[in-house]
């Protein structure tokens, strides 16, 4: 007996079980997307004072602000990740289904506004009143260059490749085939007592 052979009715049986499962796996995954927005954050700057010295303070929204904003949107059920790199570029990553695209886009713009507010608040609390004195007695103040909305870019990508989706579609068939031939083989040899 070749253990890998199946009778026609056995094949139809596993086909009937695996098609709905495979289709389910395919359809719950095919429209999943990753959505990312990037924008340049605001900064506080003091230019050309005391013989051309310049100071620039990036990342005006600090870690606790980012954490608070993240929690605000996570409590709405939105899986987000906000990060900022050394070049002051914010990245907001989220994921969802294709039909949630508008919601994701709307929330991402809201996040931009929240970050902008946090930056302005931190600027007025921590930088606006700082005087940078020179030896001569002259001084300068930090100016705010606000978050630039024109740098706002969006990126969308499918979360899964077609190969992965077709694999998900086919896997239940392979899985049940293996299960069936194993079951038949165990039935043939039996358990040792």
């Amino acid at each position: 007996m070749n253990i890998f052979n199946l009778k026609l009715k056995e094949f139809i049986f596993i086909l009937i079980i695996s098609i709905p499962i495979g289709s389910f796996l395919y359809f719950i995954n095919y429209n999943k997307i990753n959505y990312e927005v990037q924008f340049r954050g605001g900064y506080a700057v003091a230019n050309n004072f005391c013989d051309n010295i310049s100071f620039q303070k990036n990342n005006l929204a600090n870690d606790s602000d980012i954490s608070l904003i993240t929690k605000k949107y996570q409590s709405k059920g939105m899986p987000i990740n906000i990060s900022v790199n050394n070049e002051n570029i914010y990245s907001v990553k989220t994921k969802g289904n294709l039909d949630q695209l508008n919601e994701m886009s709307f929330n991402s713009k809201e996040i931009l506004t929240d970050i902008m507010r946090a930056e302005m608040l931190n600027y007025s609390n921590f930088y606006e009143s700082i005087k940078l004195h020179c030896k001569s007695g002259a001084f300068t103040l930090y100016k705010l260059v606000p978050l630039d909305e024109n740098t706002y870019r969006t990126f969308e990508s499918n979360r899964y490749t077609k190969f992965h989706l077709y694999t998900l579609l086919l896997l239940p068939l392979i899985f049940f085939y293996l299960l069936l031939i194993t079951f038949k083989y165990i039935k043939k040899i039996g358990f040792k007592k």
Binding site: I3, L25, N29, T70, K71, Q74, P79, I80, N81, S83, R159, H164, T167, L168, L171, P172, I174, F175, L178, L179, I181, T182, Y185, I186, I189, F191, K192
Partner: protein, 418 residues
């Protein structure tokens, strides 16, 4: 005989206790764990937390290039759902550990249960319950187990399953336990490869050889479907892992190793004296010589299942540094079959000595001390780590096990076939 056994076990237990008490004392005094614990004291439990992070985030096989089969991630997803509240906003494994440090406790309890289950399965008919308890405590205090705990490595879950594999006389249970083992640590497929190499034309072996890959695939695909990651990239990742020799830090390998091939890394860390060129190949050649010798024997003559299992474990722990020092835990189920055979008593004694950490108290080569952030105590401390006597004697002892096994195998089967 029984009296000798008791004295031996009592001696080993006393030595293990002294080492354990010393480790606790050292930690209280210095705020970090001594040798042979992982050299990076800020990385405690990170084998577990890194895997946990990737179990709930996409890219485990494409970005992280994981070599863990999906069953590991399935377990971690269940663990996360039951024991850790919210990991969505964690950016990496370190974040999860920082946010929910106590979430490791159920895992540690499961580790302890696994060791107890393994001992019960392997020694129920060989030792009485008191001796089993002493052996259990000995393993819990051993540097091998504590090192696995320090890393949070899921290898500990393999031990009771390996016990089932060794103890089982039914091919279905044997194949099923093999499938689960390989779906936790893929390199354990070596048990199957040696079975093929030693192919006997009896029905029992044939049944196992058919069922084992079927069960393995079923578990692999079933877990893969549920985990919903690109698990089919696992073979490529394993290949990349195997080919990438420079993946581990030499200090990490030398800190706690089971094979003399790790001595090749001495060249990279020792700067105070000269080590000749080709030193690293010498140890590899020695190990490969004995392994090939046994493999030829196994190919030529059918040997018993117990011997094949013991050799597989000896092979895994001697062949490569990639298995990690905690691979010595695989010997726990093997000591049972060894105790049954008089020829292997010496090997059994040497293996039990692996679980004594007293050798690690003796420093052989000290590294420069450096400031380190210690996770367990939460303090920044100057850590003065060293290559211990244990790091040298343990691999040598394991190599001696390989040599003794090779000689005994020839003696035992020589009269049967020649």
């Amino acid at each position: 005989m029984r009296n000798r056994q008791t004295i031996f076990l009592g001696l080993v237990f006393s030595l293990a206790s002294i080492n354990f008490i010393y480790c606790v004392y050292f930690y209280v005094q210095n705020k970090y764990l001594p040798e042979p614990f992982f050299f990076d004291k800020s990385d405690t439990f990170m084998d577990f937390y890194n895997s946990l992070y990737w179990s709930v985030n996409e890219g485990a096989y494409t970005v992280w290039k994981s070599v863990y089969p999906p069953l590991n991630f399935l377990f971690l997803q269940i663990y996360q759902a039951l024991c850790i509240e919210d990991v969505d906003h964690a950016k990496n494994g370190l974040d999860i550990r920082a946010l929910s440090g106590y979430s490791i406790i159920p895992l540690l309890v499961l580790f302890i249960i696994s060791i107890w289950a393994s001992i019960r399965i392997s020694y129920k008919s060989l030792l009485d319950i008191k001796v089993e308890c002493i052996f259990f405590l000995l393993i819990l205090m051993s540097p091998t187990f504590l090192y696995a705990v320090d890393r949070g490595n899921l290898i500990v879950f393999v031990i009771p399953i390996l016990s089932v594999y060794v103890a089982s006389r039914d091919n279905i249970y044997k194949a099923l336990s093999f499938a689960v083992m390989v779906n936790i640590k893929p390199y354990l497929a070596i048990f199957y490869i040696f079975e093929i190499l030693n192919f006997k034309l009896d029905k029992d072996t044939k049944d196992f050889l058919i069922l084992a890959p079927l069960f393995t695939l079923i578990v692999f695909l079933g877990a893969g479907i549920i985990v919903n990651q690109e698990f089919y990239f696992l073979p490529f990742n394993l290949l990349g892992f195997g080919l990438n020799g420079g993946l581990f830090n030499p200090r990490e390998i030398l800190g706690f190793s089971s094979t003399i091939t790790s001595f090749g890394y001495l060249k990279s860390v020792i700067t105070t004296f000269w080590i000749p060129h080709g030193f690293e190949y010498l140890f590899k050649l020695l190990v490969y010589f004995y392994i090939v010798k046994i493999l030829i024997f196994i190919y030529k003559y059918p040997i018993r299942f117990d011997d094949l299992v013991i050799f597989s474990i000896i092979f895994i722990t001697n062949y490569s540094t990639s298995t990690g020092g905690y691979g010595l835990l695989y010997y726990i189920p093997a000591i049972g079959p060894l105790l049954k055979q008089k020829n292997y008593i010496l090997i059994g004694i040497i293996i039990v000595s692996f679980y004594i950490g007293i050798w690690d108290l003796i420093p052989l080569y000290k590294y420069n001390a450096s400031d380190m952030n210690i996770y367990l105590s939460g303090e920044v401390v100057k850590v003065g780590s060293y290559i211990s006597f244990g790091s040298i004697i343990r691999p040598i002892a394991n190599f001696i096990v390989l040599v003794l096994f090779s000689n005994n195998l020839k003696k035992r089967y020589f009269h049967e076939y020649i």
